[in-house]
Assembly symmetry: C2
Homo-oligomer: 128 residues x 2
Amino acid sequence: MLDLSGKSPLELSKLGDPLVNLIYSLALTEVYEKPLCKKVSNSVLAEAVEKAGLREIAGRRKRRGELGDFAEGLIFKAWAERRLTIEEAVEILAGSLEPGTGLRESSIKGFETLLRRAGYGRGGLSQH
Amino acid sequence: MLDLSGKSPLELSKLGDPLVNLIYSLALTEVYEKPLCKKVSNSVLAEAVEKAGLREIAGRRKRRGELGDFAEGLIFKAWAERRLTIEEAVEILAGSLEPGTGLRESSIKGFETLLRRAGYGRGGLSQH
């Protein structure tokens, strides 16, 4: 479709934003069994980047908003390069989002796992 | 992935919103050859619904905002039911969005074509 190879995650964050919102909304829809649409906060994505051990790759001086953009760009890049399908991403996120648990914490965990499964982070394996 | 069969387009519009934004942003990115993210206005989607001959199916008393939601729901339904892939949708939209032409008019045309190709509208064929 699009040749976006060579683009950095930050350049791709604009496209990652609607993709991440779609994936997150689909996962919430699956877990809560009704159509839901919700934006992911930069703060949640920034924490997921940190927990996946990607903060240094993102650069030491990045603000939270920029870390969130970085996460969106990474996820978009993985999807555009066919390393991650929307279906896989939704299943990974839905696996962390359980009704009754804190949405913020479970969303951070879900995106951390998503970043690792997409090939980013330390060895692609959860260390928790 | 999700079993959303039996849901009406209006129920699915919440999920159609991020999907349509993703498709539109990808199409703009393809046409303008740089990452772009843009939301589609309800007004553009409402006109596309009318041009595709779907206004009556949507109900006669629907306001523009509701018609836009209806379009989002229809597109989501086609995608969820595997009648339309994201790649196909992007190609269809990008075929209408040409640099230099009015973005609003070409976007309406693009979404009209998309709705028809997704199996909605009069016979699925453009009548223009």
